[in-house]
Assembly symmetry: C2
Homo-oligomer: 330 residues x 2
């Protein structure tokens, strides 16, 4: 029958058939390819430390940042905040520093509520230390770190703007919480905020630190932090405090300039009161502020000098949220 078919008017009919068959096959292949691309991605139960990377990890390491959030005894807040922060523009990855010693990470729950916009890595800690968050995590791929306390919510708008500011000042700690030290005639320093006297350099107030619990900074400083005098680690471990002051000393020494750049937040919230854990954060301890003054003086000893410098630059976003927020009555 085949031969009979082939004997139809000349070769022409045979070639036409060949063409038709080829076309049909190609079309079928294309359709199959399209269907494959449209298939939903398969979920898996790998360990959190090697979370499945989303198909498109297109954020370049230069144009995105890693959120590092240390957590202790406030897993409910942590999870609330993760829902918020996982969706911030330019976020590359989240590293949760798990200070809940002996307690299981909420891996199952986390997986069951996937997929998630970015990878989230839970780093289980051996000891509950304040400075655990200042490790040079191997999972850290970006130049920029966003460090947040586990009770602080900053709006995506503020974060997107502050990240763009950090990109213009990459050697500084760019963040939302300014603090200062002041000198006294005795030479002993004191730590505080704007309720303290102004340092007296012209009009207005000055700040000499930006706290890292709500700030962007260069990941290189985590590397630098590993090479500090032992006495710095001892100080932080003794007080379970002052890691942020130590970082400001480090950055100021490194740059010879004010360590921080203050960006005035539009929407920053402390969620402490919202926790069910009953735990309300280290800064409520009676000795907290006195400790911080103590730390300033200890660090001056350790570093043999006061490297912190003052700044009075306050940065806001032009035309946001109010498009005329810079309007000047002349």
């Amino acid at each position: 029958r085949y031969f009979h078919f082939c004997k139809l008017p000349g070769r022409v009919m045979g070639i036409r058939l060949l063409r038709l068959t080829s076309v049909v096959i190609i079309v079928l292949l294309l359709v199959a390819g399209a269907l494959t691309a449209l298939l939903p991605t398969v979920k898996d139960d790998k360990m959190p430390n090697s979370r499945r990377e989303p198909k498109t990890q297109s954020q370049s390491a230069l144009d995105s940042f890693t959120l590092i959030m240390q957590t202790y005894n406030r897993t409910d807040l942590l999870l609330k905040l993760l829902n918020h922060y996982q969706a911030i523009p330019h976020l590359h990855k989240v590293i949760v520093v798990w200070n809940n010693i002996g307690e299981k990470i909420p891996e199952e729950m986390w997986n069951s509520l996937g997929p998630h916009p970015v990878p989230v890595v839970f780093k289980v800690q051996a000891v509950n230390r304040m400075r655990n968050r200042l490790q040079n995590f191997p999972e850290l791929e970006t130049k920029a770190v966003l460090m947040m306390d586990d009770d602080t919510l900053v709006s995506a708008h503020d974060l997107a703007f502050a990240f763009s500011v950090w990109q213009q000042f990459p050697e500084h700690i760019v963040g939302f919480v300014p603090r200062k030290h002041i000198s006294t005639p005795s030479g002993v320093y004191s730590y505080g905020s704007f309720e303290l006297q102004n340092p007296g350099f012209g009009n207005g107030d000055q700040y000499s630190m930006v706290l890292i619990g709500a700030a962007f900074f260069h990941s290189g400083y985590l590397d630098d932090f590993q090479r500090q005098p032992e006495a710095v680690y001892t100080l932080i471990d003794e007080t379970q405090n002052c890691d942020d002051i130590a970082m400001n000393f480090l950055v100021a020494k490194h740059t010879g300039k004010p360590s921080g750049v203050f960006v005035k937040p539009v929407d920053i919230r402390n969620l402490e009161k919202d926790t069910n854990s009953g735990y309300s954060g280290m800064w409520h301890r009676a000795e907290h502020l006195l400790q911080r003054s103590y730390c300033v003086n200890k660090l001056v000893n350790i570093y043999d000098g006061m490297p912190l410098k003052y700044s009075n630059i306050m940065i806001s976003q032009f035309g946001f949220p109010n498009y005329a927020n810079h309007k000047t009555k002349m």
Copy 2:
């Protein structure tokens, strides 16, 4: 009698007399010296271009700035403003660019109301040109220039702060009046302020120019300005406008970054209405803004591209005027 005197009890009396005489002479000389120092300095009638320098010109050229103020047909405002500006901290000298062709500078009055805190130089111009203020004046000794329109008053507090900001951003135009250009689908640019649409880079507005009529910039840019294409001068002379837009193009090309840094003024005032001259400034002309859009497009032709870049950084002074102006409700 002399000998008789000398024959008093021995040499002793003679020596005592000598001592006494010496002391009297020395005292008289000291008194004379003191009186000379207290004499009022003698006024002179030298030409304004070589104003007598005040006795102590201690402001270093690095830590002070020169005010350049061009004036046309508003001498009453000029004199009001000179009283204000001559007392600004860190001011080195004032250069008044006298565009009142054929009219005598108020030299006599100025001298009769001396002494003045800083030298003020009146530069008589041959032709009334907008770009006269952009000359490379030989009297200019400082790295920083403060350029002010002759109807604009900015408080000393704002100026002191903006000067400190300029010192941190010396390659930028640091000033109080932000403006922008926008693209349109046709490729034709338009000029304006915040009433125009946002350029569409994320939230909020952007600015791409800071006007030089109330701004600090590096004196080197005056030098650069002398070396621009002839078409730029022609444009400015034809429109009697746009010298500031041209400067922003120049600076943006030079740095590859946004030309300006906007400092939000606390107290900036337009004194136009206060003039007795009846003259109310170029920006009231009907075609003023259309001219500026025209200039943007012309300059893009001349420079073969759009060098202006957008910024949304708005700088304010931390803790001034309100010491808690950065207080955040958490």
